[in-house]
């Protein structure tokens, strides 16, 4: 067994929103929804990305933000890229008969495979997808194909309901009983989702993010309290989150300094 990056060719690039593209790679990867791969651009960096397709070929969906993603966006179909994975635990759908999914921004990326998986298993699922604007709303049409119950919120009201994902979530939790709420998005949003789930006594599984190096559970860069996001996560359940003070409050920078989650989120935007 070796865990060094292999090379893959970019087969197809799709522009999902003005700032988000999907890259389909001719690289086989059997993965669960929520698992991720490490993408390597030689001479630049290596970063974790959730998988938005798996099987004989895999795909990642990326928002253009910092140095790495800017370099990735310069690549064209036919170009090569380094890849290793899949890593992490992924979402667990066992014993779930009725589900709710909450996604915010590019947090819709890991949700896509999950929604498709739940549909395949015939699990009734409500999906709430939040975005800043109509144009930045990721995977709305593909998610709509997986459920009759899709709610969209936008910060500016340019598409469907104006406001945050928590408003429709609260309405749903008020009237319906879910076996699990799955979520991915900014951690401030996920913290609110968690608090609502606790209030309505619904278990949740949330996909979190920390700065990552090894992806294999040894370097400790991605610690979330006592958990390793790369190995124990990136998906954490209610019980784990309940005993993790750092969730929604603190994270380590690249140097290992413990900072408030807001400062971490701002640093991640660079």
């Amino acid at each position: 067994m070796t865990e060094t990056p292999e090379t893959a060719t970019i087969k197809k690039i799709s522009q999902e929103t003005p700032s988000i593209r999907s890259f389909r790679l001719d690289f086989p990867m059997q993965a669960k929804p929520g698992q991720f791969a490490m993408l390597w651009l030689p001479g630049i960096d290596e970063k974790p990305f959730t998988l938005t397709a798996e099987g004989k070929e895999c795909a990642v969906t990326v928002q253009e933000k910092g140095k790495f993603t800017k370099a990735l966006f310069k690549l064209k179909e036919g170009d090569k890229i380094g890849i290793r994975g899949p890593y992490g635990n992924g979402f667990s759908t066992s014993r779930v008969k009725k589900a709710c999914i909450v996604a915010g921004g590019c947090g819709a990326a890991p949700i896509l495979l999950l929604a498709e998986e739940l549909q395949k298993q015939g699990i009734k699922t409500a999906i709430i997808n939040g975005a800043r604007t109509e144009k930045e709303c990721l995977f709305a049409e593909r998610l709509r194909k997986t459920t009759h119950d899709l709610y969209i919120t936008t910060d500016d009201g340019s598409l469907e309901e104006q406001g945050f994902v928590t408003a429709p979530l609260q309405r749903l939790l008020e009237k319906e009983k879910f076996d699990c709420v799955f979520g991915c998005g900014p951690e401030a949003m996920l913290k609110k989702v968690f608090e609502l789930c606790e209030k309505y006594k619904v278990p949740c599984q949330l996909n979190l993010e920390r700065y990552m190096r090894c992806a294999t559970g040894i370097c400790g860069s991605c610690v979330l309290g006592k958990w390793l996001v790369c190995k124990d996560g990136p998906v954490f359940n209610s019980k784990q989150l309940r005993e993790t003070e750092e969730f929604g409050s603190k994270a380590l920078l690249k140097c290992g300094k413990d900072v408030p989650i807001k400062e971490f989120a701002e640093w991640r935007q660079q």
């Binding site: 060094t4 390597w40 040894i218 400790g220």
Partner: protein
């Protein structure tokens, strides 16, 4: 309990120690490594003088026979580790505070800071092979290594001081002797071997962002064993032996070479955080099968033939 060990005056429930640079980025994961994982003692990731990011990724990779890493000694800066050190002090778990620096004075400054939180030991990282001007340059010659130990001993109070040595030194045993003369309380050996490198032939480029990195894991076990064996013959100090220990039998080999405690690092990759407990169980099984009543009885027995 057959595995209880006294190491430089520190009582440990077992001789397995989490090696520095593995997992030790915050107090919670270190406490988990001891409580859930079963480590007898844990080492915090080396703390340096100031905030430093380390290298871009890839920084740590598994290849066929071990790991290679060039993380580049990232550090929040020692002053930013106060909360973690306090939490670890409160936990009562035997903690080895590891320190790296750019100068002899800086080693003393950071070790003096760490000492305030009463760690079980202070480890001096004078052996990191992939960070410029830090680590290894201090462990390559007897005089410098001795000066670092001497300077740290002046500020370390009752806390035992343990330099971690590099297999790149021409004569690791004479470095260990110099550290002993300078007042060291124990010796840790070895840090990663190398540096080495990996190339991705399709990409036609080195894989590590830093090109070169330290090698650890099964591949380096024979070198590490030889180093521990030579150090044992050169000094009277207890030795924390490490380098490629993946199971109980590996650990027994290090004890027979003369180690008092055994470090486990890369094996966390192969066997997970519970590797410490597994290594301990395997050591006990080996002892039963081979009629060894205590580790004391087999320590250093490979010598004198």
């Amino acid at each position: 309990m057959p595995l209880e060990t006294v190491f430089a005056g520190i009582k440990l429930r077992n001789p397995t120690v989490l090696a520095s640079g593995i997992l030790g980025t915050n107090a919670e994961i270190l406490i988990r490594t001891a409580k859930e994982g079963g480590a007898g003692a844990v080492t915090m990731k080396s703390i340096g003088p100031c905030e430093k990011d380390g290298y871009a990724n890839p920084t740590i990779l598994e290849w066929e026979h071990g790991l290679i890493n060039a993380v580049g000694l990232p550090s929040p800066g020692y002053k930013n580790t106060e909360e973690e050190l306090k939490q670890l002090e409160k936990s009562g778990i035997p903690l080895i505070a590891s320190v790296y620096a750019h100068s002899i004075e800086e080693y003393a400054e950071i070790a003096g800071f760490a000492e305030k939180f009463k760690p079980a030991m202070i480890e001096l990282n004078m052996s990191c092979p992939h960070s410029k001007g830090e680590g290894m340059p201090f462990g390559l010659d007897e005089e410098t290594a001795g000066q670092v130990v001497k300077a740290v001993k002046k500020v370390s109070g009752k806390t035992p001081v343990m330099p971690k040595l590099t297999p790149q030194a021409l004569n690791i045993a004479s470095i260990a002797s110099a550290c002993e003369r300078a007042g060291a309380d124990a010796i840790c050996a070895i840090n990663t071997l190398g540096p080495g490198m990996l190339i991705n032939p399709e990409v036609r480029k080195p894989v590590l962002a830093n090109k070169f990195g330290g090698i650890s894991g099964p591949a380096i076990k024979p070198v590490a064993l030889r180093c521990v064996y030579q150090i044992y013959e050169a000094v009277k100090l207890p030795i924390l032996g490490m380098g490629g220990i993946s199971n109980g039998r590996d650990a027994i080999e290090f004890i027979q070479a003369g180690a008092t405690t055994v470090g486990v690092g890369s094996a966390v990759y192969y066997r997970g955080i519970g590797v410490f407990k597994e290594v301990c169980d395997e050591m006990v099984q080996w002892m039963k099968k081979n009629n060894a009543k205590s580790l004391e009885e087999i320590r250093g027995v490979a010598h004198g033939h």
